[in-house]
């Protein structure tokens, strides 16, 4: 599903976020990426939907070399990847429901089918009762779940979470990770970045530990 070989990423400022990272994520697998702040977790994840391009090495997603992808092909790559951003990137000028509807607008779904899918996604993360609220009215954990609902509404084969449990109490964090696990159980490949080592150990899954841009 995802395969990195000798991937390096140097930002324009000269900061080397990744230095020769190699790993493979099989279809249907769930893996964690751990590491301290600044270790390069977000950078690693952003290469998958081509938000950033690798400086060296190759990033293969679903058989496609993402680093060499044409600009026009990128939107279609992203539609097959559900991304939960570290800063969530929710839109606060519209309802919870309309936030989830956003990705469905691109693909030209019939309005009724789109609404049905949006409700199904909200139902899976336990926010069906809050669809008319504004995201600002949601708690941190609820906002995180809304971000997940938006990421999965297009039924992606790959789901990525960048620190989805940051700033949450243990119980809320566990609930978020359980949602990711549920998607993995129905066949979605999942990759989650977190600095919460203890939480990760409870799940007993594959862990990629990043240290200063390398997998340790």
């Amino acid at each position: 599903m995802v395969s990195y070989s000798s991937v390096a990423k140097r930002y324009p400022g000269g900061q080397e976020a990744l230095k020769s990272v190699s790993f493979t994520l099989e279809p249907g697998e769930l893996a964690f990426i751990t590491g301290r702040s600044g270790a390069g977790k977000s950078t690693l994840l952003k290469l998958i939907p081509a938000i950033e391009r690798p400086s060296a090495g190759s990033v293969i997603v679903n058989g496609q070399n993402v680093g060499a992808l044409k600009r026009a092909a990128i939107p279609y790559l992203r539609r097959n990847i559900g991304m939960v951003f570290q800063d969530q990137k929710l839109l606060y000028d519209r309802s919870v429901f309309d936030n989830v509807m956003l990705p469905l607008a691109f693909s030209g779904h019939a309005p009724r089918e789109a609404a049905r899918r949006a409700r199904a996604a909200l139902d899976k993360v336990g926010l069906l009762g809050r669809e008319r609220s504004n995201p600002i009215q949601l708690s941190g954990g609820e906002q995180q779940r809304l971000a997940i609902a938006r990421a999965v509404v297009n039924r992606p084969a790959l789901l990525i979470g960048d620190e989805p449990t940051a700033n949450l109490d243990a119980e809320s964090a566990a609930r978020i990770l359980d949602i990711f696990v549920e998607f993995n159980q129905v066949g979605v490949t999942v990759l989650i970045a977190t600095h919460d080592q203890a939480l990760v150990e409870r799940y007993g899954r594959k862990v990629l530990h990043l240290e200063a841009g390398r997998i340790a």
Partner: protein
Amino acid sequence: MSAWLRLHRQAFLAALRRLGTLNALVIGVALSLPAGGYALLEGLRAVAGRFALDAQVSVFLRADLKRADAEALGSTLRADRRIASVRFVPREEALKELAAVQGMSEVIGALGQNPLPDAFVVSSKPNTLEALAADLGKLPGVAHVQADAAWARRLVALAGIGRVALWLLSALLGLGLVAVTFNTIRLQILTQREEIEVSKLIGATDAFIRRPFYYLGVVQGAAGGIAAIAIVAAGLALLNREVAVLADSYGSTFRFAFLDAGDAFAVVLFAGLLGWLGAHLSVTRHLRAIDAS
């Protein structure tokens, strides 16, 4: 409905929702100037053109001339090869025509006698008109000759200048329309900046992002065009109420014609195209700025 159609309908509806009435009105007022000017000019050109084509000379006879002498003069005129047609207007008929004008019958009554002379109205080609008028003035029994075409030709020339001025005005206001649209779209992109950024991150194509802005430019321009047509129609209707009074007093049925369907459609189409252009320039420039960040 296909996904493609649905995406376009969606973008069109979004554009309608964001359409500012005020912007459309501003564009409408601006466009109504050249459109209205065009309608007025066409009206004037029609009048002037008619006069200039069958250029007329009024030949007023001496008041003491006998009717028999006048008829002899008529035969002379008809023999002149430069003259296309001759119409004799006896003084009684001229008086009757004058009396028909509102308020004039009292004046004539007060005069007690007919002050008008017999006259001939002859028509010829416009280019021989002045020479002809000079010759006719020398004939015995002729008191005064008036060539009507001079002012008409001046009017045609003036209308020509007016047309050029209108083209310049149209070009300027067209540029204004592009600028207004450019700015509308710029502001719209700014207010939607977050939505655009997030949409691109999660799989929106450039075409999807741009589409509603193009629609907004076209819809706003076309709405302005429609507003301009409405303003011109209302203006001409008001004007014609006054023109009717004046024209009727001359026994004329002249009214300013409203822009015909083709012209009205052209105004709306042109405004829509300029709106598209403004949107294109704005989208190209401002979405690239978002891309770069």
